[in-house]
């Protein structure tokens, strides 16, 4: 189980990265933490004549907070999310999501940008980015642009990135007042990809009613999805009146998850609804604290 041969590039600047990507087109793949790409290469499920390593590129790693935004460099290791007290304070959902990603040895190497750009529909960070309305800073040969999380995920393992673009950083809004968040998933074993999971981010107004609700689901469709019907039902409600079981059912009303060896589509929907109820309850509880 050895990868096929490839040419390895280790540029130091984003410009060199995008130039290499532009030059080699489909024959080229950026390599971030490698925790998904390297196994696929080893299993020869995929192969590229050129790999561009992002790990030696200057300026892609680090966490910075400014003007109500937390900016995380794309090559920042996932482990930082659970260790950096600044993150736990500014965007606690990230610190809660990180321990669910694989195992600590994976998170020591896996990157925030890599997980997002890989866009596995069952992974945690894309759902977090979607629920929080994160923004992706993207660089290509012709300059930089921003992509909203809502526009970023286009399908299983596919994103709005052009083949010669990479994510350079992701910006998350800092948690507001009277806001609570939660992530929960059901996986066969600790650290496995979720059969289904949900993220909730809820804010209450001064009167204690829900002023904003964001729910995203993962593992139920080809991308993480927002549960807009459930969100709408929550806004304006008093927490005491909220039936989280019903919210869970509503969240899955317009989803038709598919089968795999671990669960049938209807089972996945049942599990997602259950998990949704849990995260909504937890987020509300935190928001009301």
């Amino acid at each position: 189980m050895k990868p096929g041969p490839f040419e390895y590039h280790a540029p130091h600047t984003v410009a060199d990265v995008t130039a290499l990507l532009a030059e080699h087109g489909d024959e080229c793949k950026p390599l971030a933490g490698g925790q998904s790409l390297v196994p696929m290469l080893a299993l020869r499920l995929t192969g590229f004549p050129h790999l561009v390593d992002l790990n030696r590129v200057d300026g892609l790693s680090g966490v910075e907070r400014s003007n109500g935004t937390l900016v995380i460099g794309a090559i920042t290791r996932q482990r930082v999310l659970e260790r950096d007290p600044q993150i736990a304070e500014a965007v606690p959902l990230l610190a809660r999501a990180a321990p669910l990603i694989g195992h600590f040895q994976i998170r020591n190497r896996g990157t925030v940008g890599g997980s997002l750009a890989h866009a596995d529909p069952a992974s945690e960070l894309p759902a977090v980015a979607l629920a929080l309305g994160a923004t992706f800073d993207v660089a290509g040969p012709n300059g930089t642009r921003s992509i909203a999380a809502a526009d970023f995920f286009t399908g299983t393992w596919s994103t709005a990135l052009e083949p010669d673009e990479i994510v350079t950083a992701v910006s998350f809004p800092v948690r507001g007042e009277r806001t609570g968040s939660a992530i929960h998933e059901m996986a066969r074993r600790h650290g496995d990809f979720a059969i289904a999971g949900a993220v909730a981010n809820m804010s209450l107004d001064a009167a204690g009613r829900v002023s904003a609700a964001a729910i995203s689901l993962f593992g139920v469709a080809s991308t993480p999805v927002r549960a807009t019907g459930a969100e709408a039902a929550l806004v304006g409600a008093a927490p005491a009146d909220i039936n989280t079981l019903e919210i869970g059912r509503l969240a899955l009303a317009d989803q038709e998850p598919t089968d795999d060896i671990h669960a049938t589509g209807p089972q996945r929907a049942r599990i997602a609804a259950h998990v949704t109820g849990i995260v909504v309850a937890r987020a509300l509880e935190e928001a009301g604290r």
Binding site: K2, F6, Q35, V38, P39, L41, F104, Q105, G191
Partner: protein, 161 residues
């Protein structure tokens, strides 16, 4: 595909070698540097047998290319103990608690546990089991390993007291 030169520090020693870009760090350590204590159990990043410390952090060496480790500082199972022929506290605890049987997964467990306890010296039973979940053992049922982690915390504390 031409071979690339690599220089890494392994267990405190500067080592050089040449290899193809596709060679994983695990294979480089085993085949080029003859450090066969790092075991390859699945080659796709699940079993954890190949765990090494890369710049102090536990990683799967089957998911890191050797060329990516150029210039890095690596610790393998051969370098975990205080000196050749002596066991470190985690190794000692595994021996005392029958935390290994066939021994194939053991280097990955010892490296992972060493790294984990450096950060979290007094874990609960649940934290230990969660931490261990990135390494697969097929022999022990994890019973001796969990006990060994508890014991290792005592041995480390005794050594630093």
């Amino acid at each position: 595909m031409t071979d690339q030169a690599i220089a890494i520090t392994v267990n405190g020693e500067r080592r050089k070698g040449r290899t193809e870009a596709r060679t994983t760090l695990a294979d480089f350590l085993r085949d080029e540097l003859a450090l066969t204590g790092t075991h390859v159990g699945c080659e796709h990043g699940v079993c954890g047998a190949c765990t090494v410390l890369l710049d102090g952090e536990a990683v799967r060496s089957c998911l890191v290319l050797a060329v990516q480790a150029d210039g890095a500082d690596i610790t393998t199972i051969e370098g975990i103990g205080p000196e050749p022929g002596r066991l470190g506290p985690v190794q000692q605890a595994f021996m005392e608690c029958h935390g290994l049987q066939c021994g194939f997964c053991t280097p990955g467990f010892v490296v992972s546990v060493t790294s984990f306890l450096a950060e979290q010296p007094a874990p609960t039973d649940d934290e230990i089991r969660e931490m261990l979940s990135g390494n697969i053992c097929r022999c022990t049922g994890y019973q001796g390993i969990v006990a060994a982690v508890h014991r290792a915390t005592e041995l480390i504390e005794e050594a630093t007291a």
